[in-house]
Each structure stands twice: as structure tokens, then as C-alpha cells.
């Protein structure tokens, strides 16, 4: 069951899921990060980044936890740099495929 929404959350707006982060991430990471397991700093949920809720209306992308709706990641792509704010994520577990 989903917890009651806190004020100011964006539930109800159209969102995509973390699968859409795959391309933007591959601009600066050399491995696919959507299969990485992220831990939400707000509620502790751990799951693949592919399952995050992604909002792209802002200039950039905002990814929220599917469990508690907290912002876990923000990404803005400028002409000369990308800015990645991950204060809502406590840890990332990145699978390394065996050789």
C-alpha cells in the first residue's frame, strides 16, 4: 500500500519511469546504470533505478522514489556539463557482469 501523499508531491502528473534515464546516463557513465540498485534516503527502499518515477517537465529530469515519492535524483544537462544531484540516494549498487 502506498503511504499517504505528503503535501507538495507531484502525484497525478504524468511521469515516465527510470528506463528513460538510460540514454542520458550513458553520456557520462560507461555502463548501464538503470540496472543499478539505489537506496532511497527518505524511506530506505532499495530497487533498480529503472523503477524510479521520472518527471521531465522541469529543465532537466527529476527522479522520485516509487514508494514514498521523495526526490532521489535530479539531473540537468547544460551545453558544457551535466549536473547530477543525488542527495536523495544513500547508496548505489552497480552490478558488474562477470567476464
Amino acid at each position: 500500500m502506498r503511504p499517504t501523499q505528503a503535501a507538495g508531491t507531484t502525484t497525478g502528473e504524468a511521469f515516465q519511469d527510470g528506463n528513460v534515464l538510460a540514454g542520458p546516463f550513458r553520456e557520462f557513465f560507461t555502463t548501464d546504470l538503470t540496472t543499478a540498485t539505489g537506496t532511497c534516503a527518505a524511506c530506505g527502499r532499495a530497487g533498480p533505478l529503472a523503477e524510479l518515477r521520472v518527471y521531465t517537465h522541469a529543465p532537466g529530469m527529476v527522479a522520485r522514489c516509487p514508494e514514498c515519492d521523495a526526490v532521489v535524483m535530479r539531473m540537468v544537462r547544460g551545453p558544457e556539463a551535466a549536473w547530477l544531484d543525488m542527495r536523495g540516494t544513500t547508496a548505489l549498487r552497480i552490478p558488474l557482469p562477470g567476464e
Binding site: F15, Q16, D17, G23, R26, T30, D32, T56, P97
Partner: protein, 253 residues
């Protein structure tokens, strides 16, 4: 083996490349398949997508993600695009683009919503509307590699006219070990079949796999469909770890 090949394609920094439209095929009145030649294409895994970037004369550019519909093979790839009425990108791709035109794409990307042909588990594919596109890549890949993995497709669509890949997923396109069920939500063909309506627990119980078969489940479609399908699967005892979802939203089109 296959796993190593896939992971190899998922490494290294990715660049935009220019693809040329070779052919276009109408799927429905509002959806079209684009056959593209991408000279730098190094193959893909079933279920992956590309980002398409359009740039206007004044330099304004915008991008969207589109799933690959084709199985990997050579430098030809196929995307099927649904026109979103007031969208910025899809009306151009569906109505304007023609053979010989070029567009920029980046891919393949995404490692989560991917079927691994080396995995012997049975597969349940659940599509809502245009969500059938990446699942079609899985079906075509299964056929091309001669896989005997058992597949079931539940394809929920409003009307028979709105089906994608009607010939390939119709009676003439049968593959051994692939069961196809169309579920109509608005109007169904004549006959003593299921009345039109949204996906139900009974549909999934009748046309899916029992949870004890431990299938891999791939669910793709609009958010409402995906969440409903995933809830039903979990309620029927499927392991949430084996349910992979991809939401197709008309976000900006």
C-alpha cells in the same frame, strides 16, 4: 555467452549517430513503423530503446525515447511510433518523415527491461496499447535465435483496428511455443468471446502462467495498465523481482 555479448554492448560512452529512413509502414491509422539504417549500429538486446533527437532550424532540440521493435541483426533497426495528438515529436515521425530522411539517435540503451535468450524461464509478456513494441522485439528475437522458451503474450488494446503487427501476431504468424491473446477494452470482434473491458484477474489467470512456473514477466504500456497488471501478478503470487515494467507515457509526445 549471450550475456557477455549483451554486457559488452552496454559499456563505453555513447554518442549520437545519424540514421537514414529506409522505409515506413503504417501499423494503424495513428502509428507507423520506421525502418532505419544506422551504419554504426552494433546490435541490441530485445527490449532496449533508443533516444531520438530532433533539432529545429533555430537550434532548439528535443528528444524522446522509443523502443526498438526489431530483433537485432545488421544495421537495420525498426521503431514503431504512436502519434500523440499535440506532441512535439511523434506527429513529425508519424506524418512527415519519409524514406531518405535522416534523424539523430542514440542507442541502444537500457539494461533492465531486457529479455535474455539464455534464460530458460517461461516468459509472460503483457502489453497495453503501444506497449507491445519492445515485447515484439522479444518475440522476434525468440524466433530468430530458434529459442524454445515458452512465451505468452497478453495484448490489451482498445479495438481490433488499433492492433500493431496484426499480420505477424495474427493466426498466420503463429510460432510454436508462443501463445497470443488479444484483450479488447472498447470493442471486440463478433463472436462468443470475452466482452470488451479492462484487464482482469481472470484474464491473467486464464492466459498467463501460474506463479509456480516462475516466469519472467515483462509488462509495458500506459502507467495505469502497468500498475494494474503488476498488482494482479503480485496478488497471484508472482515474485516482484521477476516482474519488469516499462511505462509508455504520452509525456510530451
Amino acid at each position: 555467452m549471450a550475456r557477455a555479448a549483451v554486457s559488452g554492448r552496454l559499456t563505453g560512452r555513447l554518442r549520437w549517430q545519424t540514421a537514414t529512413v529506409e522505409d515506413v509502414r503504417d501499423e494503424t491509422g495513428t502509428a507507423r513503423t520506421l525502418v532505419l539504417r544506422a551504419p554504426d549500429w552494433r546490435g541490441h538486446a530485445a527490449g532496449q530503446h533508443v533516444d531520438v533527437r530532433l533539432t529545429a532550424e533555430d537550434g532548439y532540440s528535443t528528444q524522446r525515447s522509443y523502443s526498438l521493435a526489431s530483433a537485432p541483426g545488421g544495421d537495420r533497426i525498426e521503431l514503431t511510433v504512436q502519434r500523440i495528438g499535440d506532441g512535439e515529436v511523434s506527429p513529425y515521425l508519424v506524418d512527415v518523415l519519409e524514406a531518405g530522411d535522416q534523424l539523430e539517435l542514440r542507442g541502444p540503451v537500457g539494461g533492465w527491461f531486457v529479455w535474455d535468450p539464455a534464460d530458460p524461464s517461461p516468459v509472460l509478456l503483457m502489453a497495453g496499447g503501444s506497449g507491445v513494441v519492445p515485447l515484439m522485439s522479444m518475440i522476434r528475437t525468440r524466433r530468430n535465435v530458434g529459442s524454445r522458451v515458452l512465451f505468452r503474450l497478453l495484448y490489451s488494446v482498445r479495438t481490433p483496428e488499433e492492433r500493431y503487427y496484426a499480420r505477424e501476431l495474427g493466426p498466420g504468424g503463429a510460432q510454436g511455443g508462443l501463445d497470443i491473446t488479444h484483450l479488447y477494452t472498447r470493442s471486440a470482434p463478433e463472436g462468443p468471446r470475452r466482452p470488451p473491458g479492462r484487464l482482469t484477474e481472470d484474464d491473467v489467470a486464464a492466459y498467463g502462467w501460474p506463479a509456480e512456473f516462475a516466469p519472467m514477466c515483462f509488462v509495458c504500456g500506459p502507467t495505469g495498465f502497468v500498475e494494474r497488471a503488476a498488482e494482479i501478478l503480485v496478488a497471484q503470487g508472482h515474485d516482484p523481482q521477476r516482474i519488469r515494467t516499462e511505462r509508455f507515457g504520452p509525456v510530451g509526445g
